[in-house]
Symmetry: C2
Subunit: 341 residues, 2 copies
């Protein structure tokens, strides 16, 4: 018989998770007090500032419970928080995991989620220091707070792009959205679990290590991750920086997989690149003379491409895509708006 949370109780579950974290998780430097008291405690590193972010994913909204394993679900939820710290140029350090669970949730399901959290945290040198368990009447939710550190003066914001800067992007934005669409279009019983775009949706990878390297180099003017889609997040940079942007359509990175998926889905591949998608790639802006240096910094640690896709322009010019025929289409940077649907 499978044990559920109801059988084990809150404190029993806390003990089990605590044990799993001790055995399988690393201990980040500076932890004074981890799980088990009213709060966790850590010693900040001299010369560093503290970053803190939180992001939540909800069953049925951000993931499809029968199409993702609890391990991948845990990885997904943690990766998006790691991405946020990395997009500021920081080093992830301490995570707090708050879960809303049903009494009927199997204990093994929760343990697998924690294995997923650790699979993402261990390689970046961060650990789980606290959290909370709550019973929900309905859907599960995973709300993670991640604390990071960034050397004083190295933090990269979204509000500091300047006219004339070039726009770089890592990897292939749009893979995640295309993966989700493929899942939703799948025939009954069709198993797409290993499709690279479906993997990109279920276990999005982050560019936190690349983000920190870019920040450390001092070569970039602004940075953001693409959690609201490429256009949504470029829009955040433009709005916060008081700027506009011009994207050269044929320079946008379109992978072979995305091109194939676009045919299956009957969509323009460039739309898939630009629209809302949970990819956690980085958009980086920098003075033109720094672009090669940033590319070099990232290529030293990553196999994913860095593509120059356009320029930051004056705010009055909005955000536009320049098509191969030279025509200019203004686009609105509508990201994923959670309450509109």
């Amino acid at each position: 018989m499978t044990d559920t949370l109801k059988d084990l109780g809150e404190f029993g579950l806390i003990r089990k998770i605590d044990e799993l974290i001790r055995e399988q998780g690393i201990r980040a430097p500076g932890v004074e007090l981890g799980i088990g008291d009213d709060a966790a405690c850590f010693r900040p590193r001299p010369g560093y500032e503290i970053l803190v972010t939180c992001d939540c994913i909800v069953e049925g909204r951000h993931y499809l419970p029968d199409r993702i394993t609890p391990l991948d679900l845990g990885r997904r939820a943690m990766a998006l928080n790691i991405s946020d710290i990395g997009a500021m140029g920081g080093q992830p350090r301490y995570a707090l995991v708050s879960l809303g669970l049903r009494g009927e949730t199997p204990v093994g399901y929760v343990e697998d989620m924690f294995r997923g959290f650790l699979a993402e945290l261990n390689p970046v040198g961060a650990s789980i220091v606290g959290g909370n368990l709550t019973k929900t009447g309905d859907g599960l939710f995973i709300d993670i707070t991640l604390v990071g550190e960034v050397e004083k003066g190295k933090m990269l914001r979204r509000s500091t792009a300047r006219e004339g800067d070039v726009i770089l992007v890592t990897g292939f934005p749009g893979h995640s959205a295309a993966g989700l669409k493929l899942l939703l279009n799948a025939r009954e019983g069709e198993d797409l679990g290993d499709h690279p775009l479906v993997r990109a949706f279920n276990v999005p990878s982050h560019r936190a290590i690349e983000g920190k390297a870019v920040a450390d180099s001092g070569l970039a003017s602004a940075m953001i991750d693409t959690s609201d889609g490429f256009l949504g997040d470029l829009g955040h940079i433009c709005e916060e920086s008081g700027a506009g942007a011009e994207l050269i359509q044929h320079k946008l990175p379109v992978s072979d997989e995305l091109r194939e998926a676009a045919v299956i889905l009957g969509q323009d591949p460039y739309d898939l690149v630009l629209q809302e998608s949970d990819d956690y790639e980085l958009i980086i802006t920098c003075p033109p003379q720094n672009a090669a240096g940033i590319r070099e910094v990232i290529e030293r640690i990553s196999k994913d491409p860095v593509t120059e896709v356009g320029r930051i322009v004056g705010a009055s010019r909005g955000i536009a895509v320049i098509r191969p025929d030279g025509s200019r289409t203004l686009v609105t940077p509508e990201g994923w708006d959670h309450f509109a649907g």
Copy 2:
């Protein structure tokens, strides 16, 4: 017509909340970057360690939506996090608020919740630096992460009580549970909103300022807040410290209001004091010679009583209540177990 979140959209709501926080919230010292980027950033104070806690409340589980105003709901959710930082001896500083909301939730409801958060944060010198908004299919949830600071060496844990220590408690544990029971027993249409015990349930007060003062004094050996009920949290102290406890029944603080409520509810008032209740009072242990000093420290800043209720004993003696006739009843420290029900 009342605007809902669906009408306003996620980014519209974020702008509205950001404005409200700027206008009505204080700015805690050290904030380098607040709401509006991938993560918030603050400068830690030299000589201080960082505390971090998170606590979540869920509609229908932790509060009754038609019996509490959104303002009080916000205060309640924030107070319990402030209490956790205070129970470590810390000073609350930076809050992240993660909300799960329905598309139909009125915008004014969310704004009132934020007014409630600020009503608790402003007086303790803390501010909201980030958060997250998520659409849920079903019930609302409020998940708050609170970051605090504590002077190096001053933190008070739950695991450091010693045999022979006396046990002190602030205020009147059990008020919140009695208030909830009165609410559930109320006749149709009966308005108990102003009843002091119902207020204690809806807007529990914290003892964070008292907790910090106790920690600063260096007189206590251990401290915890009573969020799992008096016995539940005394149980945490005993388990983590490898100790037992003896409580003198007639010394337990029973207010006149609680005595009256016990009659109405047909319950033993001492049971109400000991059992699960969301009061956020402090349980403090200390060597007997320090008890008067701790009392003095608290009385300097608070009108609530500090009561000596028993002693820490060896682990083998468990946790017992000594009745007026000298009889000894062993009790089990079962706190609020969220998955058992």
